[in-house]
């Protein structure tokens, strides 16, 4: 059995290294790693096909798929561009107001919808607004990525790590609003004020032509109001159901997929085109990781790990949570936070099985994975999106700029989150 644990660990660690170094596409690693794990399990008799299927968390996949379908329906309607143009008009061309408005719009939308899609659609309009104003778009793009990543931590559906944690720990939509939202709100405001300070020189430049922004007409970019209205009504219904899903004993995945079903029946889009907007690579990557982690569990790796961590009980629980925030944040800054979260979940579950009080640790994991991504350009997909887009402009966002403006935001958000975490620690559900 020792051999099984060692070989299974090697498969998982090699996969992680390949994902982290981006030597091979992560979805390919996910499929190949999962196949290897099942093969090894069958050979040594510790893992079977049915166990592998059972290891896949369909609650996570269903929730992600359902929300992806809603976004795919909303994407072509021009709704996102409408919001960005609206923010531009309301700001009347004042840079600070524009930063706050665009940051807020991006954050609020990405609290409920995929923030990568949100940023992909809002960033080009941001560049447009900045160019007609005659100011550099870099501060605004950076703020959109950083603020939407930060804000996404507030809800169960805000970012993929939360979906994973919520599913594994049985945390409901309301749990996130009670225990994550207030902390995220303070952290988000910290990030906003820090960005305002870091970019004080850029934001002090008076735009050369503020009137041009007022001639942008949001209504003209909103191409398909009818479809957008239907998606938003269904989305609103889904959010209401998320609130009560815990009491009705229905899973968030069921809510999301039902909403997707209702929206599809109501709108009846070109299915082939709609499905092209679904990020299948993400779903497959998740499934592969689940199968691999299931193999680790079956091979007894986590049991051994928890036995190693038995002395962890000697560490004060608050300190343990703080360590998780910073270790996970540090890792999330340099690599994808999804595999980190998926790998951390069984460890925390193991600690729970060993008698540790793990309730507060889930929140530490969510904060670390969420805020850590702000540290570098590769820390989150939204960061990569704005950096890549800005390369097509005359003021590209470089790693150097990110180190000066993004890294301080990550450190500040993690520090604020740590302080709040310590303060509210006794209130976390056990």
């Amino acid at each position: 059995m020792i051999l099984a644990a060692i070989l299974a660990s090697i498969i998982f660690l090699v996969s992680l290294v390949l994902i982290f170094t981006e030597k091979i596409n992560r979805t390919i690693v996910g499929i190949a790693g999962a196949a290897l794990m099942v093969g090894l399990g069958k050979l040594l008799g510790f893992y079977s096909e049915s166990q592998a299927v059972a290891a896949v968390d369909f609650n996570t996949l269903g929730l992600l798929l359902g929300m992806m379908i809603l976004v795919a329906l909303l994407e072509p309607t021009g709704f996102f561009q409408y919001l960005a143009v609206w923010a531009g008009r309301v700001s009347k061309g004042h840079p600070v107001r524009l930063l706050v408005l665009l940051g807020t719009v991006t954050t609020v939308v990405s609290m409920f919808l995929d923030n990568v899609t949100t940023v992909i659609l809002i960033a080009p309009v941001t560049i447009l607004i900045c160019e007609i104003l005659g100011i550099s778009p870099a501060p605004f793009l950076l703020a959109e990525a950083l603020l939407s990543d930060t804000g996404g931590v507030a809800t169960l559906v805000g970012d993929p790590p939360n979906v994973l944690i919520g599913s594994a720990a049985g945390l409901s939509f309301i749990d996130f609003l009670i225990y994550a939202l207030p902390i995220v709100l303070v952290t988000w405001l910290t990030a906003l004020f820090l960005l305002r300070y870091l970019f004080r020189r850029e934001l002090a430049i008076k735009p050369r032509n503020m009137k041009a922004v007022m001639k942008l007409n949001p209504a003209e970019v909103f191409e398909d109001r009818k479809t957008a209205r239907r998606v938003l009504i269904v989305l609103g219904g889904a959010i209401l159901l998320f609130f009560v899903s815990h009491f009705l004993h229905i899973s968030p995945a069921f809510v999301a997929l039902s909403a997707a079903g209702v929206a599809l029946v109501w709108i009846r889009p070109d299915v082939k085109k709609m499905l092209e907007h679904i990020e299948w690579s993400v779903l497959i990557f998740f499934a592969g990781l689940f199968v691999m982690v299931g193999g680790l569990e079956a091979a007894g790796v986590f049991e051994a790990l928890v036995r190693l961590l038995e002395h962890a009980n000697a560490i004060p629980p608050v300190l343990f949570g703080v360590i998780i925030i910073w270790v996970v944040a540090g890792l999330s800054a340099i690599v994808d936070n999804i595999p980190i979260t998926i790998a951390m979940i069984p460890v925390i579950q193991g600690l729970g099985a060993a008698g540790m009080d793990i309730g507060p640790l889930w929140w530490a994991l969510a904060f670390g994975a969420g805020f850590g991504g702000n540290g570098t350009i590769v820390g989150s997909t939204a960061n990569i999106v704005v950096a890549t887009l800005s390369e097509k402009t005359r003021t590209p966002i470089t790693s150097k700029l990110w180190n000066k403006r993004g890294l301080p935001v990550m450190l500040a958000t993690c520090a604020v989150a740590t302080i709040l975490y310590i303060l509210v620690f006794p209130l976390f559900p056990r």
Partner: protein, 155 residues
């Protein structure tokens, strides 16, 4: 009929040593859409299009947003000029690879090349590869039409 018979042999060009702003002055003075860039042996080594120069001034969002119709006022963009340092750079940094046609080429071959490579004008070279003229789609097209058989009058 060959390209030689329909090309414009009075051709404007710029030397490869010219700067972008010098090239811009030639465009303004000659009112043309394309200038061949030639080396010191008179051979074309690239072309500079009016559009290449304008791309220096065009805002970035035009390439990011599919339909800019809703942008009724380009605001600061309309008064933003390229940096002087940018305009001091040599034309070789902005020129595109040249596609030439030999002066003894047939008309339809030249026209097909322009069609497939999406060119409106093409520099013409002699057997030694030296620039001897320039030909447009209109030059070739009208030359082809001019030799179409005339309608026979019914008796």
């Amino acid at each position: 009929m060959h390209i030689h018979d329909c090309m414009k042999s009075h051709v404007f060009f710029i030397p490869s040593t010219a700067s972008i702003s010098e090239a811009a002055a030639v465009f303004v003075k000659r009112h043309v859409g394309l200038l061949p860039v030639i080396d010191d042996q008179g051979k074309p080594i690239g072309v500079l299009r009016l559009a290449d120069l304008l791309s220096l001034e065009l805002p970035d969002f035009v390439n990011l947003i599919a339909d800019v119709e809703f942008v009724h006022d380009f605001g600061a963009v309309e008064t933003t000029r390229p940096e002087p340092e940018l305009l001091a750079r040599p034309v070789t940094s902005l020129m595109k690879p040249v596609m030439t046609v030999e002066e003894d080429s047939g008309l339809l071959r030249a026209y097909a090349l322009m069609l497939q490579h999406d060119l409106m004008d093409m520099p013409v070279v002699n057997a030694k590869g030296e620039l001897v003229g320039i030909v447009s789609r209109v030059d070739i097209g009208t030359a082809v039409l001019s030799i179409w058989p005339t309608e026979r009058k019914s008796p």
